[in-house]
């Protein structure tokens, strides 16, 4: 099939951006979306023009490196699918496809379709872990974890950190990403000791970078791992409780 691409090109973080139009003839159905861009890039190189910069790595939907807006949708038209898993079967001959980088103030453009998502790491750094030094762990089966709890923690832990939730949100909120990590750790018995402190720190760090959640639910629709917004409700409840409980705990330590 023959496609027309409108691609966002931007030379650097401070340079003005623009759309450029490219023809993509001979696109095969079985190509992945990123392979289609690879082919466009090879043609550009052979024509002496700079290829389109975009991020990708595993190309099997697990590393979270890739991600672009395709016709205004984060990761494109297929549900529960990262950009690298989207295949050209999703399009028809003659289609015009608009490709843009993630759109969010917290994700500044580095070049073309590549953005800086380090704000997500900052949220993890604020508390997205269980403190346990290497060697200090008890025997693995010492603390039983009910299967439904482990399963729910795994549902949340499936997040690949791609940032589609932020890109899809009209407010560029980081709630789904943060809530998923909090649910993963806060559900497990191992995560209880730091639960309230973790919740406060991560939520407050999130708010430094990202917009506010107004329950549009776009994040859930865009998520390649289909992580549900129920976790956001859990996070909000934990945050409220943390504000009360954490203070009480601190009161015991510092009378």
């Amino acid at each position: 099939m023959k496609l027309t691409l409108r691609v966002w090109r931007q030379d650097g973080p401070d340079a003005p951006g623009r759309f450029e139009t490219y023809e993509a003839p001979d696109v095969k159905e079985e190509m992945s979306f990123l392979e289609m861009l690879d082919v466009v890039n090879e043609r550009l190189i052979e024509a002496g023009r700079e290829p389109i910069t975009f991020d990708s790595d595993c190309r099997e939907g697990i590393c979270g490196t890739c991600g672009v807006m395709i016709d205004g949708k984060a990761h494109g038209p297929w549900k529960g699918t990262a950009t690298c898993q989207l295949h050209m079967r999703a399009f028809r001959d003659g289609d015009v496809i608009t490709i843009e980088p993630w759109r969010a103030a917290a994700f500044p453009v580095i070049k073309d379709l590549m953005v800086d998502r380090s704000a997500l790491d900052a949220i993890i750094e604020a508390g997205g872990y269980i403190s346990v030094n290497t060697g200090a762990a008890p025997e693995a089966n010492e603390i039983p974890v009910p299967k439904p709890v482990a399963d729910a923690a795994m549902d949340a832990a499936a997040c690949i950190g791609c940032g589609a939730c932020v890109a899809a949100c009209p407010n560029s909120a980081g709630q789904l990403f943060t809530a998923a990590k909090l649910a993963h750790l806060n559900l497990l018995p191992q995560g209880q000791a730091e639960r309230w402190r973790r919740t406060e720190n991560m939520v407050e760090t999130m708010e430094e970078f990202f917009g506010s959640c107004t329950n549009y639910g776009e994040c859930q629709e865009a998520c390649p791992k289909e992580i549900p917004i129920d976790f956001i409700a859990q996070m909000n409840r934990d945050y409220l409780r943390a504000k009360v409980k954490h203070r009480r705990l601190a009161g015991q330590v510092f009378p």
């Binding site: 002496g48 595993c58 295949h87 008890p138 832990a157």
Partner: protein, 641 residues
């Protein structure tokens, strides 16, 4: 010029005491002195992230470098199946000794017994550590950890987190790392690629890196450098590795004096989705567990292009069941892969490009019902359908082998130190534990063993001898010269002004390596490889086109240096494969097989590690041999009949 002597530093005594005795005999660094030492960790996969977090917890000052935008993205994340540990939670006869035995045997007697024993010993601690970090392993209704048997193992020792075990283990290590970043004990450099190892007076003193966002080149010094930079499957261009996986860090260490061991030991995974066209960028692996219920077949007739449903039962060749009645479709990875190649080479391949074999679930669906098959393999079937557009509940899957792991790597001693003092290699980047073939669910185990439980001890022994010594300042001539050499290299690539893209040459190189040094190798092909690879390299250096500037993001420039290193590595792989006149594990020399077409090992002549020493660009590497001694596991020939 060579003064290298290979000393594996294997401790003496009974094998079960060696690691404990060694830990006791190693020197310690006093807690207050640890902060005087700087350690560089390159790579943030399982090995790198776990090492960096553990060393920072001990009090060392750690600098971490990754070319990813976040440490969480390393390719360890893509491992599906699970992680082995000798917990014996199933009461089914597993033990440290059995895991050790299986790993040595599975590696076809080309690994070091002492290293493998230690790996099996610390495997149990890894599970404890990961559970405490919050890794959501699969559980039973009683709340205890679930296990499964994997890759033909006779015991259930594999721990897993759905089909995303690598992801969850990596997130655990990444989170431990980020905690140390938050504590200020780790300095994290993302989007920064290591492009040289710096050696002064024979000792590793730091690295040179390029900032992938700005193009800036800088030097970083340390008392020790840990390369945790993964394997080199992408030398084949098409592999199950991520797009950015490369050999550059290990290769540049090799050029600075680190010996490269067993480069021809590469593993081919039998159940991947076949390439669909010329522009295929990578191959997707599907869990080996599919072979538990799927039946593998091709048409009996050459060039049979009928749809699978139109081929009657008696015209199908279930070749694995026919040739290996005892193991059938569950023969080991290398045997399954080679047989697929044989039937495809015969012209009996299936699919539009005739480059696959069928993996058929119709019998399993008839026996178990769609629901059970869906419960077992639903996510894999969905993945297959998303990629191919075919529904495997109705049409047989098409599969073909692809490269996905490299057992070879930088030579290291028992302490994981390379032949350059102060330079270590961990995880897939080293060669030490898997011999000629890796068992399923053992890659995650080794990466974490090295990072959490080996390097924190062994690096201390080395650093204790350096107390009071400052690091080499980065304005020392060794650093400024290395930076200059890198700037010159970059300028050279930018000014070639050729006609074809880097990917074009990478693809061409990959075809040569796959054809001559892939699933089956022979003298004629390897000799061809040794003449065709340098010829292609010469063309690449003359004709490649790298556009843009050295400043700012330039993905073609990143790739061109990696591909240049792959060219050199490919040549060494062919030379190693040519030298090794035997078949073992993933290395199958057509000339060395039994009458039944099985691999024939030659323990008399080849029971050694081949460690190659760089001799300069225009001289072939020099071979050093580390003899392998088997005191516990008696070498036997494998048979799956």
């Amino acid at each position: 010029m060579s003064t290298v002597t290979l000393d594996a530093k294997i401790p003496s005594g009974p094998i079960e005491d060696r690691w404990d005795n060694h830990k006791f005999s190693m020197r310690l660094v006093n807690p207050n002195n640890k902060r005087r030492f700087e350690i560089i960790v390159v790579g943030t996969g399982l090995a790198g992230a776990s090492a960096a977090a553990s060393l920072a917890q001990l009090g060392y000052r750690v600098k971490v470098f990754t070319y990813h935008d976040s440490p969480r993205r390393a390719h360890s994340i893509a491992a599906q199946g699970g992680i082995n540990a000798a917990k014996n939670y199933r009461n089914d006869g597993d033990s440290i000794y059995r895991l050790f035995y299986d790993t040595v045997k599975g590696g076809d007697y080309r690994s070091r017994e002492s290293n493998v024993y230690r790996l099996a010993q610390v495997s149990v601690n890894i599970i404890d550590q990961c559970v405490a970090q919050g890794v959501p392993f699969a559980r039973e209704y009683g709340g205890l950890l679930d296990n499964r048997s994997f890759g033909g193992a006779q015991v259930s020792r594999t721990f897993y987190a759905r089909g995303q075990t690598g992801q969850q283990l990596l997130l655990g290590a990444y989170q431990a790392l980020m905690q140390q970043v938050s504590a200020g004990t780790v300095t994290l450099h993302t989007k920064t690629e290591m492009l040289d190892v710096v050696v002064k007076d024979g000792v590793c003193c730091g690295i040179v890196v390029r900032d992938l966002t700005t193009g800036e080149i800088s030097s970083h010094s340390a008392h020790a450098v840990l390369l945790c930079t993964g394997g080199y499957s992408n030398v084949y261009y098409l592999s199950t590795n991520a797009m950015n996986c490369n050999a550059t860090a290990a290769w540049r260490a090799h050029r600075k004096g680190a010996l490269f061991a067993n480069p021809c030991f590469t593993q081919i995974h039998p159940t991947c989705i076949p390439a669909s066209d010329e522009f295929q960028s990578k191959l997707t692996l599907m869990s080996e567990s599919l072979r538990n219920d799927g039946r593998i077949w091709v048409p009996k007739a050459i060039g049979d292009t009928r749809a699978p449903a139109d081929i009657p039962e008696e015209e199908r060749d279930y070749y694995l069941e026919r040739k290996y009645p005892a193991f059938g479709n569950l023969v080991p990875r290398d045997v399954a892969s080679r047989n697929a190649k044989t039937v495809v080479d015969e012209g009996r391949g299936v699919g539009p490009l005739r480059n696959g074999v069928y993996l058929d679930f119709s019998d399993a669906i008839a026996r178990l019902g769609v629901q059970v098959v869906k419960e077992r393999y639903g996510n894999l079937f969905d993945m297959y359908e998303r990629i191919t557009g075919e529904n495997p509940y109705e049409v047989p899957m098409r599969i073909y082998p692809a490269t996905h792991y490299t057992m070879g790597g930088l030579w290291v001693d028992y302490n994981l130190m390379t032949t350059v003092p102060g330079l270590y290699a961990l995880g897939e980047a080293n060669f030490s534990d898997h011999g000629a073939n890796r068992l399923g669910a053992s890659a995650l185990m080794q990466g974490l063993a090295d990072g959490y439980f080996v390097i924190p001890y062994t690096v201390g022994d080395y650093l204790a001898g350096l107390l009071g010594q400052p690091t080499v300042p980065t304005d020392d001539p060794v650093f400024t010269q290395a930076e200059q050499a890198l700037r010159d290299e970059i300028r050279r690539w930018m000014s070639v002004g050729g006609t074809r893209s880097v990917d074009h040459y990478h693809r061409e190189l990959g075809k040569l390596v796959w054809d001559y040094c892939g699933m089956a190798r022979d003298r004629v092909g390897l000799e061809k490889a040794l003449s065709e690879i340098p010829a292609l390299r010469e063309e690449f250096e003359r004709d490649v086109r790298v556009l843009g500037t050295p400043e700012g993001v330039n993905q073609s420039l990143e790739k061109v240096m990696r591909v240049a290193d792959f060219f050199e590595l490919a040549e060494l792989m062919a030379r190693d494969a040519l030298m090794r006149e035997e078949s073992c594990g993933g290395h199958f020399r057509v000339e060395h097989q039994t009458e039944d077409g099985e691999a024939r090992r030659d323990d008399e002549r080849f029971s050694f590690v081949a460690a190659w020493e760089w001799q300069g660009r225009d001289t072939p590497q020099r071979l050093h041999r580390e003899p392998l001694v088997f005191e516990y596991v008696e070498p036997t020939q494998r048979s799956y009949k």
